[in-house]
Symmetry: D2
Subunit: 334 residues, 4 copies
């Protein structure tokens, strides 16, 4: 019989509860402890998933905990990550490590020598269609990458309070696609140019944009595009295409299941997923599963690590600078 | 807090285990008991899903059991259904009630006066796309039904032993679509004509067909088509379109997620589901969920009942007769 | 410089004018003469396309005419065909040869010994998608044919006067698909069963149907389906799929060009062609072109000939009988 | 009877011959004269289309010529345009007016006061799908434009000699999309950023790129993207989507007609048009037709004029500068 990985979950808000459900249902995992600064919430979540509530110190000090999943507020990530690694726990840390790239770098530098399994929450790598795109690309089906086109379009505006704390569209939303771009192409971004505007929420214009277009040059020569919006009027639209010297692979707009209506002079198919969560929901589980296999010593390709976290963030910083300064910006080395 | 419906599962083979997993994960259900003539298998399945193994008599006699799910071999269905209903249990009975329509009718006649919730396993009504087709049709989006086209194409040949016991393609495979046709149109089949052949498995020609085409006339005037095969070379292909006086609604071939390849002079998209089970898997849970809501007294539309079981079977009998005799056959009333 | 084939066109109504435009624009053809019992119409059409108007006798007797295209009223086809062949002209004859299969057979028997190029107007063989389906099927891409599904759905009801003279849905509309079925599979229909109803035009119920479903058994074992309607509410829907032992080839519903709208929870694509003519229009030219190449001695595959005309008609007769008698009908040999 | 517009065609190379065929077949046009510095070619083309060959001076001086279509080499456009306008002819001038924006501006300034009908060769506005996108956008179906995504991907590398004379990817290829962007949105580009590389043809790196990505800001706030390549390995891929506040309209990748193959775990559809010409061919005729209607005094929306030519060129200049300098560039006013 297999040994279960005993997890403590830190943070039991919306995403914390998604992780709680996945931890509880994963056959190789025991959700042992739930921690939250809102202890009542931790209690409720713990009870629902057959765990107990407790403090972060319990999680870090107990031998009965093998791994920690950090899903608390962003400003707490860096400290918790450092402490958990120092405590010898395997760590699944939601992105970003810290909104300050410098702070993130400092932590990573300190903990890198400590050899415990760590992954950073770039769960979209585990989208089934993106995975198949990567697999075929890696097999050489379309040759060398030349032109990458990406769209990252959320369907519903977040509350303005969320945006104030998010670090901006580059650091919060586009960052997933900076990671996907690096992962898919196994290449690095060297230059980025960005234009943005607050079209859907003019009231955020002083500190953020809700619509943006980016172009990037990759080290091995490929060129890439990305557009982002915080609000479509047609559902959640996430897509990537990689054009290579021998063809194009595309992970296209995904529609939900449903009936198609043929009527008059139109054919109406079911639309896209209603929101980002309904589209990416299953990737959290797949990411967790990959991490658990990694903990057990299995060879797992493409698990996002600390350096991946820093690199995506460095691109986001450059993109943010480009937005603000109106010029192309070189991506800093890590 | 809600009261859990305590289920006994009878039969723990392939489909029994699908039901076991669903019963175990449904928040309104407790999987209490697992019964099987292969007691060791019952033990294994019970243990995996946190239940206990026991006998059918325990299931029927215990006050700690509210409902019974019959997933044992077809020849046992009728007796178990009768006993369970007489014992006052709610019953989810896999189709068919019995391979003999007369035997099925006798049982239904005997138990109909007893008012307990019963459903028969026409789970495909719970396919998300079919559901949306039905919902839009019922709203009148396409007017009155005129022409229904259905394809029921399994991808892999079953073992010949299965076919010997199945009752034939009409009673085993096409029957799901006879039920879907009645449910979608809320109409009855009056005449059926069928042609069939053993093209993929010539060795079954003496007792069955593996490929068949059918046409049907409905009471309210619509005409319908169905084709069936036991083996495609392109995955599981289940589709239905209903053409009405004001448009057409289609639940089309469903492809799985994946990357699209543009290359040379072709565009290759992900193919269909590999087999029937990967396509219909989620419908078992949805059917169970609808049944549980029905048990609790909720108004649930379209839950397949005993009469639905008999009616679909009567169409299958007529289709079988048409195949054998080479003539159109009227569907008997129930 | 190439020699032009000098054509006389007999019949200058709607289809006659389609042929006139094609004859006038084909680089290997000279439209020399236009004949019509409505001589004024012949004059108008002749003038528009740079030809002269004249009588049928001129067409048949003049050495300056190499070929005749018969697009006059159906009851005149058989006589004109016979006379033109006896006069040594190449003949493109609109289908059917005659509404009476016996009359058509008699004519074919009489003229078959005379060796002039003749084609019968089954222009839909020249649909680009059907052509590619046939080409791939013939290459063996999907193995042996097992299950053919066809839909023949016109978008707009013809005038009732047209229906009175048409010979009925089997002889007028379905006949194109009987021909396509034979041509695609290179096989013959042996048995046909049909059900029909007058759903869109109840007033024709005494003499015709407007909606019908058919099943057929082919000599080499395949099974086929066809449905027909005279009126959809979603455009002209012509499609064919051939399932073989190694895959399926489909010539699917064709949408016109246009913009796709993503909005709310739906994706609306351009609908199908508005009517049969806009879909099949180009096939008349392609058929003519194939015939001209045949006249010049080129090897042309799949040009529909006299026997093809008779065979499609024999299936239509059997289908009509099946509709009326409510039984399966064997297709007569020719 | 209608008066024919008598055209002189100047230039009878590849595109000149396309125009010759359209002029010859348009019912409102007479192709009267064909001019070319290669007089023998002019003779051949004239003969093929029932015209006569002659000199440019004949074309400009003769009262028997109403309109001139300039399809000669780019360096001759500006002079011929000026002379033809001064001669009082209606002029259809292939783009660009001149590779030098300054030279183009000078000519336009000189001839603008002379009121004759003039159109510049941005024929892609007449793509049927783009036209429908524009029509629906103008009706307000998707609200205000926010994010435009465009791909302009040719399938086959042109000869290097062509590239040397072309003015570069911005002025030669992307310019069509600068025009489409202005026309679709009825807005102007204010800033452009571009990155490019010679990935398919490294040998052109000293003077041009073959792959490029661009981002643009529009005056009314929208953001736009464009990518260009000179060589795909999957056919000609031209697409545009306009996301607005209330939905998205897309003129998507267009596949040719053909059969769909379902086999194994893939569905292969007919690929895209083989090359740019097979996709855009019909737009030349539609553009000509719109111009002829304009000449006759009909109100024609969206006919590209001299100012459109200058504006698209100004964007191309800015894009070229951005490519070279590695910075965002403001688009000059005209």
């Amino acid at each position: 019989m297999q040994t279960l990985q005993r997890f403590a979950l830190i943070g039991s808000g919306f995403i914390g509860q998604v992780h709680a459900a996945n931890l509880a249902s994963h056959p190789g995992v025991e959700l042992a402890l739930v921690c939250d600064i809102d202890h009542a919430r931790a209690e409720t979540v713990a009870q629902r998933f057959g765990a107990v509530a407790g403090s972060v110190q319990q999680a870090l000090n107990s031998d009965a905990i093998d791994a920690v999943l950090i899903a608390s507020a962003t400003p707490t990530h860096a400290d918790l990550l450092e402490q958990a690694v120092r405590a010898g726990k395997a760590v699944y840390c939601e992105k970003p490590i810290d909104l300050s790239l410098q702070r993130a770098r400092d932590v990573v530098e300190k903990i890198s020598p400590i050899k415990v399994p760590v992954t950073v929450g770039f769960n979209r790598r585990f989208d089934l269609s993106h995975q198949q795109l990567k697999a075929q690309f890696k097999q050489g089906v379309i040759g060398k990458a030349e032109l990458i086109q990406m769209a990252c379009r959320a369907s519903e505006l977040p509350p303005i309070s969320y945006l104030h704390a998010s670090g901006g569209q580059m650091r919060d939303q586009a960052i997933h696609f900076f990671d996907l771009l690096r992962w898919l192409t196994e290449d690095e971004v060297v230059t980025v140019g960005a234009l943005g505007a607050a079209l859907a929420m003019p009231e955020i214009r002083e500190f953020d944009v809700d619509t943006s277009v980016l172009i990037m040059r990759m080290q091995q020569g490929a060129l890439a595009q990305l557009d982002n919006t915080r609000r479509t009027a047609y559902g959640y639209d996430e897509r990537i295409s990689v054009m290579g010297s021998a063809g194009m692979l595309a992970s296209e707009s995904q529609s939900t299941r449903g009936a198609t209506l043929y009527q008059g002079n139109g054919i109406t198919q079911p639309g896209l997923y209603a929101d980002w969560f309904s589209r990416v929901q299953t990737t959290y589980y797949s990411h967790l599963d990959a991490f658990v296999r990694h903990i057990k010593g299995e060879q797992v390709d493409g698990l996002p690590g600390l350096i991946d976290g820093l690199r995506a963030q460095a691109i986001a910083e450059a993109a943010q600078l480009s937005l603000v300064r109106g010029e192309f910006v070189a991506v800093e080395g890590i």
